[in-house]
Assembly symmetry: none
């Protein structure tokens, strides 16, 4: 997660793992208190009771640090089996919205995405640390729905991938837009309306 993918240099004092944890924790705290644009490396260092050098030894800058600090939060998302595809979708929509309401994700997510439009390595980091990891939810949901007979098995693998990507963009995009751009609440009612729209659309594409 942090940068040290090096072959574990054998000599010298090893890096403090406590520092790592303290820094990420401090980063989230700073995001909550100050927001993305006011967050500074110095402030994070102070909160984590760590020297600035220690931060820079591990992360190249604010962008990378925040991605790592926030990524772990997205792993909290789960897909408990609620018995039907509609319930599963609605559940994940509400979970995702709740995550986006948290101040640390709220302020950080769009900011790092914005930065990533001009920084390829950052975009790759975001994809691997956040985006791609959450596609698992779409894939898992589909599998369950297929097992239940709610969805057909897709014959063509590439079509299957394309569909999963589309669904992911629609769900994630709609929830993010509703939450951060429209700044309206994602409540059970909205989640229900959205889920209905999505599943009818999906069902339609599977008709003969």
């Amino acid at each position: 997660m942090s940068s040290s993918d090096s072959p574990t240099s054998r000599t010298g004092r090893p890096r403090s793992t406590e520092a790592d944890a303290a820094i990420l924790e401090a980063t989230r705290a700073s995001l909550v208190d100050l927001g993305w644009s006011k967050l500074t490396m110095g402030d994070v260092a102070t909160r984590a009771k760590v020297a600035k050098t220690t931060l820079y030894r591990r992360w190249a800058g604010k962008n990378e640090l925040v991605v790592d600090a926030v990524a772990v939060l997205f792993d909290e998302l789960e897909l408990p089996d609620r018995g039907s595809l509609a319930a599963d979708v609605q559940g994940v929509v509400l979970q995702f919205a709740a995550l986006l309401e948290r101040p640390e994700t709220r302020t950080a997510l769009m900011a790092v995405v914005a930065e990533s439009t001009r920084d390829d390595s950052l975009r790759r980091r975001i994809r691997s640390a956040i985006v791609d990891r959450q596609k698992r939810l779409v894939l898992l949901g589909r599998e369950r729905a297929q097992a239940r007979g709610e969805l057909r098995y897709e014959a063509d693998a590439s079509t299957a991938t394309r569909n999963a990507d589309l669904i992911f963009d629609v769900i994630a995009g709609a929830v993010v837009h509703r939450t951060l751009v429209s700044a309206e609440p994602v409540d059970a009612e909205w989640a229900s309306g959205f889920t209905t729209l999505l599943l009818l659309g999906l069902a339609g594409t599977q008709e003969p």
Copy 2:
């Protein structure tokens, strides 16, 4: 659009309207060259051949300036009548994606949205200058589709509004997510797949 909503103070030298235009143009140019995070007020002032103070007299800061500079680009979006709802949706999806591919919008849009999560006045500015202005496309598209008989007229006004908002979040969200987060192209194929999904979903809700 800029700050002077005052009742046009009668005395003193009036503000230069040329400066206004030059500043917004310079802001877009600076966004293209430097991106959001590297853009500075000083650079914009230099490009616009204007003093920094002249910027600050009109805009409170980088955020407000960029919103105004970018907002006008969104007004380019149109909804030419292509004869069917599907064609209209697909058309606007492609237009919107093309707009998001432009470097000035690409780097600016998410950034100001991110900032707006901690700044209510900024969020209001974004809504009035960008978001709400584009809902017109959804409303216009629905009217046309209703005139064509592709969609029913909605009896309940509040349901109608809710539906329009939902559709707007789904379209805008999906396109933004595909473009900026997934960083995959919005080509005719994707647009077609997305439009199909959306319209089937809409049709489904009108069946019974």
Copy 3:
């Protein structure tokens, strides 16, 4: 004193003489409140209820304005006949010291002198508006002392001038240094000690 030495241009609106007085008064007030370095043209204009342009039409800048504003205060110095040279000297020393204790002169005098070291026209202005005007006190004091028989009449005119200049520098210099550099009070005791020293010195040069 102010700049308009033009041959009374016959046409157009005449300059407000009230404005002149108000500006000089405002300048002194600003000196008292803010001191030389914090005094600004804008503040003076505001206090005088006058536009900045009006100031610049009359004075080239802060330096010239302050010299004129302060010069008039030095004309308050007088040399009442106290019956003896010693009493006259002591009197003028105390008067001068009292003038230098006033905040407007205190802060302004050294400042404009400092500026004048790099600005010949300013130095000329200071000399004509302040310094040379006060030499009259030395000359008047000498005349009286000569009339009283306390001092001999000087035969050589250039020697007389040289002596007057020397005495002026010694008196003015000592009082200024005591007041502004040493920052010690010029009370009757000090004035007495200084006068004694000076007059004994003068007497000595006239002995043989």
Copy 4:
């Protein structure tokens, strides 16, 4: 002399002593080229090849910096034994005048004195860094004259101090006034006339 009178904090990177020297040197050079009022912290930093922050870390502002930069020049003043009190006084008068003719002292001295009239801490700094240090010359001169039998030993210590202060104010004041206010040269002739006046005055006060 600079700010660090702290007990040498043991941790962190130590301050660069080269920077200290370069800054003071650059300050003097800037005074020569630009004069007090045009001197800027930025220019000094540039000349010293140092960041502006490095200046502000050591000095609170222009005033303090210039006092320190100029103070060292005053330490050049010496009192070589020329065999008689008159010769000693005349020598120091000419040295002091030569110092005041140098552009860096010329422009700086009166300026900082002017500022000090509104800033007690600055006045203390000037006194300790410049004024009081030069009183040594008066004291040394008196001691020598007493050793030579030219002056009596003063019985009362407080009277001795008062006299030394008076002489200091007279010498320094007269030379400064002649040089900077009257803007006339302090040549051997003037120095001789002044010395005669002063010593006769002193002699007179010691008669029975």
